[in-house]
């Protein structure tokens, strides 16, 4: 849609989503001197480095200690700081979930958990590091906002928005290059989903690196005579129910696609909504109750069935039901 200021597919760029977080945190830090950053010995790779260089007096290195990472941040938030904690998502929130639950969510402190190197785009590091369960872990926590940006440009805006938000938050970042579809003028608000490509026949809901895959699938499907509506849903919690329901009332069938487990994440959130309010056929695409493995992102997306070709096949299946 023109008012979203999206790039034409031929003009898409390529950059790791985490880079946008790094830029956004510096901007947030410039705007508000209460922003602090904490890291668990992964300063460069989480992209918290630019903030640490610019504001060394507001940067805290906790070492390889993720439980301490988030609980120290809880204490700093109690004294008026807005802490961003960065590590790999496999370790934070992977290892310190209970500390996040008790000292940040139940205690209601505005700590922002930055989960870098999440999902299959972590590639060669293998299953231990390719966490696929982080969105589910964070989504079940009361008070927690959960954001999975679609590209680096959106990650920058999401970081700035989280810095201004009063709630605890989680932002998921991918490691390797992925498509850049949005521009500085593309809107982003916490809690909003956006119709990136309008259509009539099927609603495809995606976030993270899978939004570009969904857009590619829409183009393939258009040539096959299927008019797909693509909803980019970066905020998994709170979910933008209105945008999703409006679309599904029209299309009456849905595919969700995410770079994580199909239980508890975006697909879980959408199917919970639809099963109560608007039951329609749904296919959830993602990783299906198995772990990742070593490989390039392209090899892994092919293996786990998360390419535009796979989405198109599923769309034919559900539309022709």
């Amino acid at each position: 849609m023109s008012n979203l200021h999206l790039l034409e597919m031929k003009d898409w760029g390529s950059e790791p989503i985490r880079k946008g977080f790094g830029r956004g945190l510096v901007k947030a830090g410039e705007a508000n001197d209460q922003i602090v950053a904490l890291c668990a010995d992964l300063t460069d790779s989480t992209q918290i480095g630019p903030f640490a260089e610019k504001f060394p007096e507001r940067f805290v290195e906790v070492g390889v200690a993720e439980q301490n990472l988030v609980t120290v941040a809880s204490g700093m938030a109690a004294m008026g700081k807005i802490p961003f904690t960065a590590s790999y998502a496999a370790f934070s929130p992977g290892r310190n979930w209970e500390q996040i639950r008790t000292t940040i969510c139940l205690n209601n402190r505005p700590v922002k958990i930055v989960g870098a190197h999440a999902g299959l785009y972590t590639g060669l590091d293998g299953a231990t590091h390719q966490i696929l369960e982080d969105v589910a872990l964070m989504r079940v926590l009361p008070n927690m906002v959960v954001i999975v940006p679609g590209d680096s440009v959106e990650a920058e805006k999401a970081t700035i928005a989280l810095a201004q938000d009063k709630r605890p938050g989680y932002i998921r970042l991918a490691r390797d290059n992925s498509a850049v579809m949005t521009t500085a003028d593309t809107p982003f608000e916490i809690g909003r989903a956006y119709v990136f490509s309008p259509g009539q026949d099927i609603t495809i809901i995606a976030n993270g690196t899978m939004t570009s895959v969904a857009l590619e699938a829409a183009e393939k499907l258009f040539h096959d005579g299927i008019d797909a509506e693509i909803i980019h849903c970066p905020t998994v919690k709170p979910l933008d129910a209105a945008t999703i329901l409006t679309s599904v009332k029209k299309t009456k069938c849905v595919i969700t696609i995410e770079e994580g487990q199909i239980t508890g994440g975006l697909g879980g959130a959408v199917t919970e909504l639809l099963s109560e309010q608007l039951p329609v056929p749904v296919i959830r695409m993602g990783v299906k109750d198995v772990f990742g493995q070593t490989g390039t992102p392209a090899e892994l997306l092919e293996y786990y069935g998360l390419t535009a070709k796979h989405v198109a096949i599923q769309a034919h299946h559900i539309v022709n039901k």
Binding site: Q67, N68, T71, G75, A78, Q99, N107
Partner: protein, 303 residues
């Protein structure tokens, strides 16, 4: 009654001992009414909490968010009955409300919840998280150039089994957060038995020292020692300070003292070897406490 009176005009040690004794009686009464909760730890901590709320802490019960207040974190949240009783006696809420401990809709939740009760500084229960929160608060205070406040954090000794504590111990020493004062309730018991049986902690002093802390060891049931140790801790600026406070679990109730079976058991719930029958337990405990084991006449008028 405002605690400004307690904090501005120092109370005598004798008076503080009587307050600690009132706190103990309220712990026994509120746990009996609740029918669940922990007995031994709160009773052992009563002298420390009387000292904290009525002498050591800079605080104002009529203004729990007072910006100059000291912070007190209870890391071992299961001992919260002692904190509730101390808070009530110092004026945060009516003493009568202690009877709602662990009841539906009560502000006095089974484990402390910051957002439920003004005056609580954190939410705790799952162990091992208090020291790192204290360190985060102290670091933020240093960043804010807020130099005349201290963060006190009470930890259990069984709680020191948690790895998070030692992550926090390294961190606090790294940043030389001398505005953190840790108080370890060294009562030697945890739920499954004695600490040295469940998971040995000794040499505990050497452990903290090796982690870069200044260690003070005291008799934690001696109120004057508690006050003196905290005064000394505030004078040390090179390192964070931990006070290992040796306490008697169940202190003040003869049949509970030193017995780990009372760690997680309230009075009146069950018959326990060596204790009065369950429906006599509260009465016997309160009688002992009211008379300081026969040393004084009955001071209080309540039943």
């Amino acid at each position: 009654m405002s605690t400004k009176n307690y904090t501005d005009k120092k109370l005598s040690i004798d008076k503080l001992q009587l307050i600690a004794n009132d706190i103990r009686q309220d712990i026994v009464k509120s746990l009996e009414k609740a029918g669940s909760g922990h007995s031994a730890g709160p009773l052992g901590l009563s002298d420390i909490f009387a000292a904290l709320y009525f002498d050591i802490l800079k605080h104002d019960p009529s203004d729990p968010k007072w910006e100059e207040r000291d912070i007190l974190l209870l890391s071992n949240g299961h001992c919260v009955p002692v904190q509730y009783a101390a808070m009530a006696h110092s004026g945060y809420f009516p003493v009568a409300e202690l009877a709602t401990l662990r009841k539906y809709k009560s502000r006095l939740q089974g484990h402390p919840e910051r957002e439920k009760l003004p005056g609580l500084e954190n939410t705790s229960g799952p162990l091992g998280c208090g020291l790192s929160q204290a360190a985060g608060m102290a670091l933020a205070m240093q960043m804010n150039k807020d130099s005349h406040r201290w963060v006190y954090v009470v930890m259990g000794d069984g709680e020191l089994n948690e790895g998070n504590i030692w992550e926090a111990a390294m961190f606090t020493a790294k940043y030389k957060l001398h505005n953190v004062i840790g108080i370890v309730d060294r009562n030697n018991i945890q739920i499954d038995g004695t600490t040295e049986h469940v998971m040995p902690l000794e040499d505990l002093r050497a452990k903290w020292e090796a982690f870069g802390w200044h260690v003070i060891e005291i008799d934690g049931n001696d109120i004057e020692s508690v006050i003196d140790a905290c005064a000394m801790a505030r004078a040390i600026v090179e390192k964070p300070i931990v006070i290992i406070a040796h306490t008697i679990p169940g202190k003040g109730v003869d049949y509970m003292e030193y017995d780990y079976h009372w760690h997680g058991t309230p009075v009146g719930l069950a018959d326990v070897a060596g204790a009065p029958p369950k429906n006599e337990q509260a009465k016997v405990a309160l009688k002992e406490l009211r008379t300081l084991r026969g040393k004084i006449k009955n001071e209080s008028n309540h039943e």
